[in-house]
């Protein structure tokens, strides 16, 4: 019946369009310049008391009063323009809603759109009563009309009340709201926070065992690949299983995202238990994005994911990869491992004449221990892939430690090859395979805080020629955020000349004798341990270099033993 009316509507519209073309004349006044008092719309259309809202319409310059459903009249509002009013919804709006009226001294207009009254209800939290809530962690509140929550109350480190404004929430939506526990300024102990809404409702949260985060660091949202073998689902017999080991750290609220392509008319993808029955919990909340579908992990399925894994079946699509999106705590104030694609042009190595070069700019931030992974497919019987220098000779350092995995081969970057990768890049040659992409995994470089294992960090990498006493550079304090007594500052040099004389300096250009006196020289670098007396200043001001008769290529901060 509905469709019948749609067709009739379209027919009627066509008839009326024809009629109006005929009726339209050149002297049509194109509407009135003064529409008088009227309400076109307001936003939001569902409110609670004290909720800021806007009313849009015309003739608002003379508005004296606004009447809300239930007869409550408001005279305290802001006329933004003749077409817009800002007002806070009053208390006393009728529970079944109704229209809004605006009044001038001699006119009144009523909205056609009804205003409805919201009522916040909380149905649950992402944590159970008594559970630990560590500084920086994300807590999600579930319910309805949660957009009216405008703050919450927790205890600060000293046990005083602290208010978390909704601007500081991680995300505020109608049916879920997420906030982070303050990183360090949170009371260590069990207490119940409170949630507040615009209209003065308050909800007592369950008691969580709050704990400040003692290590430095921060939370990051990471997307990690847990399946990367392209699989064509062209019939119901096709399926693959992602093993439970990929879900070892899965948590409620994590997102399983499945990247797809070649969506057919019969598109029908299904999350499954490993026992092949449908996983209704995931399936029922499956949402589609451009190029993927995804579902959020619920508490109920975590055990099974961690013991049996996750299977996919279906028809009418190709899965290219599956990822797990998680909030991850990055310790040590440093950055997370960075996985970047440095080559993504599919290249068929069907003969020895095939080759490509990944430019040196892709290796600008490379460090020893980073990983080059080369994704391959169509491995033939003559499979023989070779890492090469740009001069086409084999790169034995990489080749000798090459390992093969399903769908890829990879090698770890050694210190010896970094310079060449950064100046010439990396070439691939070989036969009997197709490279689909090359990834570079740069493992976390700590830049401050505590917590994570500290590793050697390059803190300066701009080649600088010290050919006169006017030359100098300063390494900023941020590079020493994590510095400790007895860490080594190693300065790589080249082109040492007869007047060689390098000097560690304070940022105010005076010599740093504590460091200078412990300086030792080798052929390629000079270095000195950090004395306790220098730690504070390095952390707050940084370190300058001056001197003559050498070129600095980079400076490293090496954790003390």
């Amino acid at each position: 019946m509905k469709h019948l009316f749609k067709y009739l509507g379209a027919l009627l519209a066509v008839v009326l369009m024809g009629a109006t073309f005929a009726a339209c004349s050149e002297d049509d006044d194109n509407g009135s310049a003064n529409l008088g008092l009227g309400i076109k719309t307001f936003f939001p259309t569902k409110v609670v008391a004290n909720q800021p809202m806007t009313i849009n319409g015309s003739g608002f310059d003379g508005v004296k009063e606004i009447e809300f459903p239930g007869g409550t009249k408001v005279t305290d509002f802001e006329i933004v323009s003749n077409e817009m009013i800002r007002v806070n919804a009053p208390a006393g709006i009728a529970s079944d809603g109704g229209t809004i009226k605006v009044r001038t001294a001699d006119d009144e207009a009523e909205s056609t759109l009804p205003l409805t009254l919201g009522h916040t209800k909380i149905s649950g939290y992402s944590k159970q009563e008594g559970e630990k809530a560590e500084g920086g962690e994300l807590i999600t509140i579930f319910g309805t009309d949660l957009e009216f929550i405008n703050g919450l109350e927790l205890l600060d480190a000293d046990g005083n009340t602290q208010f978390i404004d909704h601007n500081d929430f991680y995300r505020k939506g109608t049916d879920n709201l997420a906030f982070r526990v303050p990183l360090k300024n949170i009371y260590k102990g069990t207490f119940a926070g409170k949630v507040y809404t615009y209209d003065g409702q308050s909800f007592t949260m369950p008691e969580f065992a709050y704990e400040p985060n003692t290590g430095g660091g921060h939370w990051e949202t990471q997307e990690n690949t847990i399946w990367d073998t392209e699989t064509v689902f062209d019939g119901w017999s096709v399926s693959f299983l992602i093993g439970p080991e990929q879900f070892a750290n899965v948590q409620e609220g994590d997102i399983i995202r499945v990247y797809i392509k070649d969506k057919g008319g019969d598109y029908n993808p299904i999350f499954k238990h490993d026992d092949w029955s449908d996983w209704n919990e995931l399936q029922s909340i499956k949402v589609e994005g451009d190029g993927y579908f995804e579902s959020t992990v619920t508490a109920a399925i975590i055990d099974e994911l961690q013991t049996k894994g996750l299977r996919f079946q279906g028809v009418g699509f190709t899965i290219t990869k599956v990822t797990l999106i998680q909030n991850v705590w990055i310790p040590g104030g440093g950055v997370a491992d960075i996985v970047s694609t440095i080559w993504d042009t599919e290249t068929v190595f069907d003969g020895w004449s095939v080759s490509f070069l990944i430019g040196p700019e892709q290796f600008a931030d490379l460090q020893e221990g980073d990983l080059i992974r080369v994704y391959i497919k169509d491995k033939g019987g003559d499979y023989n892939p070779i890492f090469k220098h740009d001069d086409w000779s084999d790169w034995t350092e990489l080749q000798s430690i090459k390992v093969d995995g399903d769908g890829y081969f990879e090698s770890t970057v050694s210190a010896a090859i970094i310079d060449e990768l950064q100046t010439k890049g990396l070439r691939f040659q070989g036969v009997g395979f197709t490279i689909t992409k090359v990834e570079l995994t740069m493992y976390a470089r700590p830049t401050g805080g505590g917590g994570g294992a500290r590793t050697t960090a390059t803190i300066w990498d701009t080649e600088t020629v010290f050919d006169g006493w006017s030359v100098s550079f300063v390494i900023g304090a941020d590079q020493f955020a994590d510095v400790q007594e007895d860490d080594i500052i190693r300065v790589y040099i080249k082109d040492k000349t007869g007047d060689y004389n390098p000097i560690y300096k304070h940022d105010d250009w005076s010599d740093w004798t504590d460091i200078q006196s412990n300086k030792v020289d080798t052929d390629d670098y000079f270095e000195a341990p950090v004395p306790a007396s220098a730690v504070d200043e390095l952390k707050s001001i940084g370190l300058r270099f001056q001197g003559v008769g050498f070129t600095i290529t980079k400076v490293e901060l090496i954790p003390g033993s």
Binding site: T174, E288, G289, E361
Partner: protein, 565 residues
């Protein structure tokens, strides 16, 4: 019950029919402040209708500043660059070709088109009904996105009002759909009220916008975030406090601007923002750069490279060529002396390398004679900008400044006739680095000192955060007073070069006559002698604001022209 439904449908049918009548009988097809979308189609179909309408608004974010005939920048209308070809449309700003009849920029039209679409959407929000699709696999995803759209659109409306405010000053504040007669009788609203509107809207929508879209369904990047709303607010307040819009020097305006930028600096880490390496702000993966707060991503292309690669590189058209005036502002790492101070006259490049030891941002921004460029192996060569060199005059379209542009140009793009390669590009709208500078400027003007920490950070502290980044390593600012202003304006030019700030910064400082009238360019003789010459450009104080297009004035007798135009 069934009768009721039939009545409802009949009611809808009548309303729709009437809307068809009203919409069609009164539409003036030449008129830009309306949209031609069919109502039922738009509001009942998600992907092509509702979402399509929102995306149409996003698509207006860049105006003609990024069209190819100006090689994508306003830079060549500033002292940053000289456009290689005299035919470049960007030259209109400086050669007298700019007038109400030839307003050049499409800012007015594009912004009001976007605003009209936004107002239409917000007014018809009750008509967005996709319940017919509730059994579609994507239904929940669509509903989740629709929850955000009104807030995204209100952010975008505020954004477009900022674009209008910075270009025209007072502009009509339109927050509802208008009849043609209304639109053609509307008056300009004072700039202060436009600023208040933008700030209030940013405050109103910010709590509802996500910090990141990574964990949202349909996680497109490049959409309005909470951080973008705070960034828009902060930049708007900075402009409002600046001399052009604050002739009385009201310090409370600077205070508000300082507080808004400080809020971003203080919360950056919690929002996942970090200062990145300077050279990572552009390139294939820049969209994922955690310094960029709001950027416009574009698909794989090498059009920008073709427009800005040097002549002599196949398909290169030279485009925006950095001026000597810009190079003069770069400081040496050793002592903070500028290039212009150390080498004020001619330079014998056979005996000295004047670029050695310069701020690392120079080498990341500019291609100079002798550099290897572009980076791709198929086209890499030593660039020759000396007279008679491979990339220099007398070749048609060669650099008029002896320099070529590197910043934002992806040297890995191959632009040969065959086997071209293309990469993604990201145009920065807001990035974290800007707000350290915005804060510094506002804090200095609010407190009167670069070393006053009323806001918990001094102006010098803020600038020095940028200057002491690991990849920059420049001497710290210690100045105060007038000397600080000079150095700050230099630092802002260098840090934000070619990010479309200079054009507006100099206008809001009311320093066009100082910076934009005489531009120094370099030429290098065949025996490598670098000499300077001055390019005279038109500047008039009226240029601080754009002219209101004559076509709009003709339609609307209540619309007044900006002074001088």
């Amino acid at each position: 019950m069934k009768t009721m439904k039939i009545k409802q449908y009949f009611g809808k049918l009548c309303v729709l029919s009437l809307l068809c009548v009203l919409g069609i009988s009164c539409a003036n097809l030449d008129y830009t402040e309306e949209t031609g979308r069919d109502e039922e189609w738009t509001y009942n179909y998600f992907a092509q209708g509702i979402k399509g309408m929102v995306w149409d608004v996003y698509a207006q974010i860049y105006n003609n500043e990024f069209e190819s005939n100006s090689a994508y920048f306003l830079a060549s209308a500033t002292d940053e660059a000289q456009y290689a070809l005299e035919t470049g449309a960007v030259n209109n700003y400086v050669n007298g070709g700019w007038s109400p009849a030839n307003p050049y920029s499409n800012t007015w039209t594009k912004a009001y088109t976007a605003i009209a679409e936004i107002n239409t959407y917000l007014e018809k929000i009750d008509k967005t009904d996709i319940s017919d699709w509730q059994y579609n696999n994507d239904y929940q995803s669509w509903i989740a996105q629709m929850e955000l759209f009104p807030y995204e659109l209100r952010f975008l409306r505020a954004y477009f009002y900022f674009e209008l405010f910075k270009a025209y000053g007072d502009v009509p504040l339109v927050t509802t759909t208008l009849t043609n007669a209304q639109a053609n009788n509307i008056k300009r609203t004072p700039a202060d009220q436009i600023v208040k509107f933008i700030v209030d809207e940013c405050d109103a929508v910010a709590p509802y916008l996500p910090v990141s879209y990574l964990t949202e369904v349909a996680s497109e990047i490049g959409r309005a975030t909470r951080v973008a709303a705070f960034a828009l607010k902060a930049r708007t307040l900075l402009y409002a406090a600046s001399p052009l819009h604050n002739p009385t020097g009201d310090k409370t305006k600077w205070t508000k601007a300082a507080q808004a930028s400080k809020y971003i600096i203080d919360n950056a880490s919690a929002w996942g923002l970090n200062l990145s390496k300077y050279g990572a702000l552009w390139g294939q993966d820049a969209f994922f750069n955690t310094e960029i707060i709001f950027g416009v991503g574009r698909g794989e292309s090498n059009a920008f490279e073709m427009a800005n690669y040097p002549v002599g590189i196949e398909n290169g058209a030279s485009g925006n060529c950095p001026s000597q005036s810009l190079i003069d502002q770069y400081e040496y790492q050793s002592n903070g002396q500028t290039f212009g101070d150390r080498y004020p006259g001619s330079i014998d490049l056979n005996t000295v390398d004047p670029y050695d030891g310069l701020d690392p941002r120079f080498a990341l921004t500019v291609v100079k004679n002798g550099d290897q460029w572009p980076t791709n192996g198929a086209q890499k060569k030593t660039i020759e900008t000396f007279s008679g060199g491979f990339n220099a005059a007398p070749k048609y379209g060669a650099t008029p400044t002896s320099y070529y542009l590197r910043k934002f140009v992806d040297g890995s793009c191959v632009t040969t006739a065959d086997n071209q390669t293309r990469t993604r590009h990201t145009w920065i709208v807001f990035r974290l680095g800007e707000f350290y500078l915005d804060f510094a400027e506002a804090a200095f003007n609010a407190t009167g000192s670069a070393n006053d920490d009323t806001f918990g950070m001094t102006a010098n502290d803020a600038v020095n955060v940028l200057r002491t980044r690991a990849d920059i390593g420049m001497p710290k600012f210690k100045e105060d007073g007038d000397a600080w202003v000079v150095r700050y304006e230099r630092e802002r030019l260098v840090e934000l070069a070619f990010e479309n700030h200079r054009f507006w910064d100099v206008r809001r400082w009311k320093k066009g006559a100082q910076y934009f009238k005489n531009i120094q360019v370099a030429s290098i003789s065949s025996n490598l002698q670098l000499s300077r010459s001055v390019v005279n450009r038109q500047w008039d104080e009226k240029f601080n604001f754009y002219p209101i297009p004559q076509s709009e004035l003709k339609k609307n007798p209540n619309l007044t022209q900006n002074p001088g135009w």
